[in-house]
C-alpha cells in the first residue's frame, strides 16, 4: 500500500516537473527563465529518484 502511495506521488512530481520545464522552455532559454528551468529539472529528478527507489524495493520483494 505504501509503495502504491509513494509511486503515485512520485509520478505526480515527474508530471509537475515536465509541465514546468516545457512551459518555461516554450517562452525562452535565457537568464530570466533559468529559475523555472532549474525547478522543472529538479522536480523531475526528485520524482525519478523516488521511482527508482520504489522499483528497487519492488524488485527485492518480488
Amino acid at each position: 500500500m505504501m509503495l502504491v502511495y509513494r509511486s503515485v506521488i512520485s509520478l505526480a512530481l515527474v508530471i509537475v516537473g515536465a509541465i514546468v520545464l516545457v512551459r518555461m522552455l516554450h517562452i525562452g532559454f535565457g537568464l530570466p527563465e533559468l529559475p523555472g528551468i532549474v525547478l522543472g529539472v529538479a522536480v523531475i529528478a526528485l520524482g525519478a529518484y523516488r521511482l527508482r527507489q520504489i522499483f528497487r524495493v519492488w524488485a527485492e520483494r518480488s
Partner: protein
Amino acid sequence: MPDQHQPELKRSVTPWGSFSWGYSDVGADIFVGLGLVLGAAAGASNVAFLFAGIVYVCIGLAYTELAATYPVAGGGQYFVMRGLGDFLGFIAGWAVLLDFTIDVTLFAWSCVDYLSEVIPYLLNPIHPWIHFIAVFGLIAGLCLLNVLGVRESTTFNGVVSALDVISETSILFFGFLFAFRPELLVHTMTTQWPSTFNLMLGASYAIISFVGLESISQAAQETQRPASIIPRTSIALILTILIYALAYSNLALGMVPWHQVPLDAMGHAQTLWQWLGNNDNNGKAVALLAKDVPYFGAIAALYVPILGAILLLISSNSGVFGSSRIAYAMANAKLLPSIFQRVNRRFRTPAISIIAFCAIAVIELIFAAWPSLDPGAAAFYAKFFHGEGGIGFLGDLYAFGAATSYSFVFLALIALRMNDPLSPRKFRIPLNIPMTYKGERVLFPVIGVLGFIGILSILVFTIITHDLGRIAGPAWLILGFIIFVVYRRNKGLPVFGSAPHDWRHEQIGILRDAGELELMDEYLARLKEREPAPVAEIG
C-alpha cells in the same frame, strides 16, 4: 553517563517514524517561511529560497554523515562537543535549544493562524487575546502529550506527514497545471527585484524553511539501526523539502489566482505574492495560495487550513521533543545540571526537561504577542525594533539560533574527519580531498567548507537585517554562558577546556547500543590495528 538504575530512552522510532519526525518539523517550515520570504524578498523570493536551499543541502549532508556515525540524542551539540570541545559544544547546544523552544512557539502560533481561516474568532489582528490564549493552550497540551510518551506522538506524526505529502503535491500539481504563467514569473522577477538589504532579509528568513534536520539526529538515539536508516531517511527528506520550497516560491510568483486578490490597506490593487507576504497573511500563506488554485482550490479551502494546522502542531511537538532530548544529552555530557537528565520512571520520558522548555516557549510567546496585546508595548516595539513582533520576532530568533548552531556543526564535521578517521562512516559526504593528518589518511570535506561559508553568510545577513534577532539572540547566548560557568565551577570542571572523555570507549558503546554490531566490529578491528593492547582491554 546515567547510572545503572536510571531508566533510558527507548528505541521505538521506525524508519518512517524517523522520516516523519523530520518531515513534520522541516516540512511545516514552508507553511511559515513562504509568507515571510515573499514579504521580504518580493520578486527574488525563489532566489532567496535557492540560496538558502543550497546551504541547507550542505547542512543536511553534514547531519546525515554525523548522525549516522554518532547516533546519539545530542545531535549538533554532541558533534560539536566531540569535534571542538565542551565549551563550543555547549554554545552549539544552547543555540539549538533556542531554536527548539522557538519552534514550539512559532509553529503553535502559525497553527492558530491557519485555524483562523476556518474559525475567524482566532484572527490575531481582530482578537489578539483569544489568539494568545489559543497558542498558550496548544503549548500546554503538547507539554502534557510529551510527558506521557513518544510512541503515541510518532504514530500521529506518520499519518499526518503522509497526508501532507499528498496535499502539498496536489497543490503544486494543480497549481502548475492550471494557474502557472511562466511569463508572469519572468515579469515578476524582472520588475519586482528587491534591494540588497531585502534580499539578505529574505535569505535569512528562507533558512527557517529548512530548519529541523536536527530532529532526525535527535531521534537517532531512539531509532532502530540508525547508521543504516538515517542516511536513507535524511536524503529523502532533504530532497523533498528543497523541491517543495523551490516549487512553492516559483508558483507564488508566477501564478494567476483563481479569485480576485483583495485591495491592500490603502485601497490599492496588489498581486498574489504581495497579498501572501503582508503581515496579516504571512502566517497562513500556503492555505491562501491553495485556495487560489483553480478548481482544486474549492476543496483545498476546506481542508488545507486544517491539515496545515495539524502539521504545524506536529512541528511544534517536534520542538518539545527535540528540546527535551538535547537537554537530556547535554546533562549527560555535564554541560547542563543533571536535573535535565532525569527520566520519569512511569512514562520513561524526560519530564522535567519537557516542562522547563515549554515554560521558556511560553515566555517567548509573551514577548512575541506583547505588541498585539498592549498598545504601549506596540509603540515601544515600533520605536526600537521597527515594529517587529509576532511571527517576525519568532522568525528572527529562529534564524539566529539555526545559523549559529549550524556554523559550529560544519566546523565539527571538518574537525571529526581530521581527528576521528577510525569511526566507521556508513555515509560520507561526497567531494573530499584525500590527505595525511597526524599520520592517518583522512578525507577533507570540501562541502563542509562551502557549507560553513554559506551558513556564516546567512548568520551575517541575520545580524545585519534583524533588529530584534541581533539583540535577543546574543542575549540568549550570554544567559547560557552564565549558567554554564556557574554550573561547571560548582562541579569543579573546566569552563573553557574539556572534561576528560574516553571517546573510543564511548563510540563502542554507542554502536553496540544502536544495534550496529558490524560497525562496532569494524571499529574495534581498526583500533586493534593501531593499538592492540588497550583495545584488548576494552573488548
